[in-house]
């Protein structure tokens, strides 16, 4: 078949060709998720099986250089939980109140400055946050709380700062999405602006606000670089009162050791750590999707 007849064939069928090209592109996302799942699980699950799922998830020793090596990730699971809980403690109340401010109390000229600032906060790279944490927060915690400053507390504060813009932005739009009549109705009954906002509007925006918190949690659990730069990274099971001591998260575990994994189960164990992280984050995202559907945020 000559080039010319091929071109005319394409030209005659361009609508059909385009449609199939577009559909094929749309399947790329499906293929990507498929590949990610297959490769993570294919390489992670056998290691988990080898180590023993129970030993892997509840073991308190992470000693890849021992003979035989020990691969227990409980300290990291707990570590991720601590810093995430800390981030919630610092970030969530501040974020929600700040969102209320942005949606209901902010004078217009101030809003024009604050909105871009919050957008910028969301865009600052995590290494820059991490660096800020290293040079400002670590010394601050060391001097005021003791320890060497690389700690659960430091990571929590830093993560709290990092999830602020997520929570503010999504909560703000959820609060704005509440129909104005609800507010008018409350005020018409004699409620003050504050009362109407906090007792009527905020409850009405509840699931959107919850969604923002869950998305923030997802970010906190998945955050790697910033946490790794300030958390100390000791793979040791900590108790909650040891909040000024160091801790290692699931994410940090991967980033610290993937580059120079020992032969044997070490790399697969790190991939398995990734699987656990992936499953955690997927659960959180599913929760977010359910809430989002409910609210239509």
């Amino acid at each position: 078949m000559g080039i010319r007849s091929l071109i005319s064939l394409i030209r005659r069928n361009k609508e059909r060709i385009a449609k199939h090209l577009f559909a094929l592109s749309a399947s790329a996302a499906i293929a990507a998720v498929g590949l990610i799942c297959v490769f993570l699980f294919m390489q992670g699950l056998p290691a988990m099986w080898d180590i023993g799922i129970f030993n892997f998830l509840t073991g308190t020793d992470w000693q890849p250089d021992w003979t035989p090596p020990r691969f227990g990730i409980l300290p990291m699971i707990v570590g991720s939980l601590y810093v995430t809980a800390g981030a919630i403690l610092f970030g969530v109340p501040t974020g929600i109140f700040a969102a209320v401010f942005m949606a209901k109390f902010c004078p217009a000229p101030l809003y024009k400055i604050l909105k871009p600032a919050i957008n910028l906060l969301a865009g600052i790279p995590s290494v820059v946050y991490g660096y800020f944490g290293m040079v400002v927060l670590v010394p601050f915690v060391r001097e005021n709380f003791g320890g060497n400053g690389n700690s659960i507390l430091t990571a929590s504060i830093l993560l709290g700062m990092m999830i602020l813009p997520t929570i503010i932005t999504i909560s703000e739009s959820a609060i704005r999405a509440v129909p104005g009549e609800i507010y008018d109705g409350a005020v018409a009954l004699g409620a003050s602006h504050e009362h109407a906002t906090f007792r009527v509007i905020l409850p009405a925006a509840k699931s959107g606000v919850m969604a923002s918190v869950i998305l923030g949690i997802g970010r906190a659990v998945g955050e790697t670089m910033a946490v790794r730069m300030v958390a100390g990274n000791q793979a040791v099971l900590r108790m909650p009162h040891e909040f000024i001591r160091g801790v290692r998260t699931l994410t940090a575990n991967i980033v610290l050791e993937l580059g120079y994994a020992y032969p044997g189960d070490h790399r697969p164990a790190l991939i398995a750590t990734g699987v656990v992280l992936f499953v955690f984050v997927m659960l959180i995202n599913t929760l977010f999707a359910i809430l989002k559907k409910k609210e239509g945020v």
Partner: protein, 274 residues
Amino acid sequence: MKRKKPFDFIFFLLTWLSIGVTVAVFTLVVGYVLINGVPYISPSLFALESTALNPSLFPALMGTLMIVGLSLILAVPLGIFSAIYLVEYARRGSRFVKIVRLTTETLAGIPSIVYGLFGFIFFGVFLGWGLSLMSGAFTVSIMILPLIMRATEESLRAVPDTYREGSFGLGAGRLRTVVRIVLPAATPGILAGIILAIGRIIGETAAIIFTLGNVARMPNNLFDSGRTLSAHMYTLANEGTHPGEAHATAAVLLLVVILINALSSWIARFVKAS
């Protein structure tokens, strides 16, 4: 001013306090990084080669540009085509659309370290591309795909149906309608999304260091390793031997992000105006 009731007063105070904290975080981070970093920005920071004595950010800057360029080449057409399919072709609520939407949301939620891990074992080890521009760009392009898809989808949906009707009414086919009428009208929104994606790539570290690698030189070819600005920043911060350069690099990185944000919101404003 009228006296507030205690309940009202407490909540009033809390909102101001919270926004105060937010502003403080912003001022602290941005102010600290810029004030301490900008004075250290010097010509030697942009020397062609990065050495142990002078950790120039130039190779990392080039590496960043290459990663951004390559990932955009991969992700932008794919993202735009996918969005076109979802908005202009697919039947609403069809099973395929639902699955695409679900997987796109999944991609958007995967933490960057998991992308790094996947890129490492798939592109690096399984396909044998090692630590290279290719591994890095492919990994990052999957990461930004949902961003570009979502921005394009929203922009396409914002194009009034009356434009489409007008075009169909003149006997134009779907492809011509999409390419000549709908896409041009949606361009600013798509552009704003692409710029946000660029910001995301520049800020990315965890997915980069296990795919592109982290060597302080420019990649020579597609299968050569290198580093990006963020990875450079990460390394400087951890080594701690060049605090001045670390400050300066953080400032440069932040300035780039500020620029990108400004550009994106400028374009977004343009969208609203038209």
